[in-house]
Amino acid sequence: MLVMRDTWYLMIRALRESVRQPALEIGNVFIPMFFFAVTVGAIGNVAGKAFGVTNYTAFQLPVAVLQAVAGASGTAGLATVGDIERGYFDKLMLTPAPRISLVLGRLAADGVRVMALTILIVVVGMLFGSGMKTGPLGVVVLVAMGGIFGLAYSGLGMALALKTGSAQAAQLGFLIFFPLVFLSPAFAPKEVFSPWLEFLATINPVTYIVQGMRDLVLSGWDVNSLAAAFGAIAGLGLFTMTLVLLALRGRTS
């Protein structure tokens, strides 16, 4: 209960920072939108002939959400480095707030940022004809999936920030993200991949997240696909939270 309460207070504080520093959010909005427009514009017309995808706008919409996650994923870690450098993180560590709340507050704020960006991406996508096979409830699930994935993935930058106190290290999550996206069926269906790439895509958790989101937009409700997507997010979250807890413990030794 205390964890939830203090996470809430610290999430509000982190979101207030975003509102007061809107310039920092410009890149997070611009990059996914830019790549979304450019990719659809460049490949959309040939996607049907090349790999049988007729609605490439809908096909790309989840990728834009993932790019929003990548952009926002460094925020929690970077902001935590700022707190560490200013001595404010110690101030928070000295309160009776559960220490996990100190990191969950910022990670939850990243999740909220991704959810806001996902809503924006969905609106833009629908304006350009992506449609949403699963209707309004599908939008809710897609936004929730984006937010939870954002929270889980930001844990990587947060762990690096806590371990190193370095802004450069905190942004490493952003760099790692791109190979993960390119080794998934982000730009073309897995079926057209060469065998080695298909194998890597199969063991890549991002593949299942992309596919789960894509089914919501393009195909309709698919329980197995959703379960695989949420399972991949949960696994990733478990991994990053373990790193976060170890890094947090290391700060007092």
Binding site: D6, Y9, L10, R13, R16, E17, R20, Q21, D83, R86, G87, Y88, F89, D90, K91, L92, M93, L94, T95, P96, A97, T252, S253
Partner: protein, 335 residues
């Protein structure tokens, strides 16, 4: 009950870096404890262990009877801390920062606003409460940091060099708050400082820390009395040669406890200072040396610090090395 107790408290970062080397503390409730030492002497590491920010390598420590390693959460509920580096969030306003701090300390909702308003008044920040912290001056940040340490009415407050870098007016304001809180609410203060004047003015008890160890402890009066000498300062016309010759001459005098060069003066510790001054001037005259200033004073904490650690404490917390003292009954630590 003792507010703070430590036994053989130790923190080694590596085999070579022994930041705190087996210190013992016993601090009574309701007192102001001054922890005096130069930069790097181990003061801040001690505070970080006592406030649960750092795990000791060995030894034990209790705050209000609670073991800092076994019950860190309960310890944190009972203490307020303002660290050496002012820990504030520049993006928030002063009021927002205190409200968040109060909520994290579970200050009851009904008490929240009035408590924050009261503290803003106490630290004289009511007019700036809705400005972002990044617009505050250094003194205002220190005062806000102190207010943040007090939101939950802690029984013990740790202040790590609370006045370092402040102008005299802000420094005086902090001293006033500390004194008032101690008297009116019985709050125990653990105050680390590199300002001897601060320890002398505020502290009921003082410990001098040097190279990770406590080298002396007692009330300021007891520590000064432990020297049991007067202090004569001789400023000599001429350069380093004349200063060295004056030191040699002073050491020839009978009844001298100790003599050393500090900065541009020869400092002589002697039992009967008023009687010694004349003899010292005669000795200088025999050496054809001329004193441009001779002063006699009772020992200060600065003199105690010098005696116990073997070095002089600068205003910025650095240590100034001194010439070796004359052989005497007082033992000194090297460097």
């Amino acid at each position: 009950m003792q507010a703070i107790f430590a036994e053989a408290l130790t923190k080694h970062f590596t085999d070579e870096i022994r930041a705190v080397d087996g210190i013992d503390l016993a601090i009574d409730e309701g007192t102001i404890f001054g922890f005096l030492g130069a930069n790097g002497s181990g003061k801040t590491t001690t505070v970080r262990m006592l406030t649960t920010l750092l795990r000791p390598t060995s030894g034990r420590a209790e705050v209000l009877g609670l073991d800092v390693m076994r019950s860190p959460g309960q310890v944190r509920r009972r203490i307020g801390v303002a660290l050496q580096e002012v820990g504030l969030d520049d993006i928030q306003t002063g009021r927002e920062l205190l409200l968040l701090q109060s909520r994290l300390y579970s200050v009851p909702a009904g008490d929240l606003t009035s408590r924050v308003e009261h503290l803003l008044e106490v630290v004289d920040l009511a007019d700036a409460a809705d400005r972002r912290v990044k617009t505050y001056s250094g003194g205002m940040k220190r005062r806000l940091d102190l207010a943040a340490a007090l939101v939950h009415r802690p029984k013990i407050v740790f202040l790590d060099e609370p006045t370092t870098g402040l102008d005299p007016i802000s420094r005086d304001a902090i001293w006033r708050y500390v004194g008032e809180l101690n008297k009116s609410e019985g709050v125990t203060f653990f105050l680390t400082t590199q300002y001897l004047e601060e320890a002398d003015r505020l502290a009921d008890d003082v410990a001098i820390m040097d190279a990770g160890k406590i080298v002396s402890q007692g009330t300021p009066a007891e520590l000064k009395a432990s020297i049991a000498t007067d202090v004569v300062t001789l400023r000599i016309e001429g350069g380093d040669d004349e200063l060295q010759r004056a030191l040699t001459a002073a050491r020839r005098m009978e009844g001298i406890e100790e003599a050393r060069i500090i900065d541009d003066a020869v400092i002589v510790y002697v039992r009967d200072g008023s009687a010694a001054i004349g003899k010292l001037v005669l000795l200088l005259d025999e050496e054809s040396l001329r004193a441009r200033e001779v002063t006699l004073k009772q020992p200060t904490l600065d003199d105690v610090f010098l005696q116990k650690t073997g070095h002089h404490l600068d205003a910025d917390g650095a240590v100034a090395r001194t010439e070796p003292s004359a052989p005497s009954g007082t033992k000194r630590r090297g460097g």
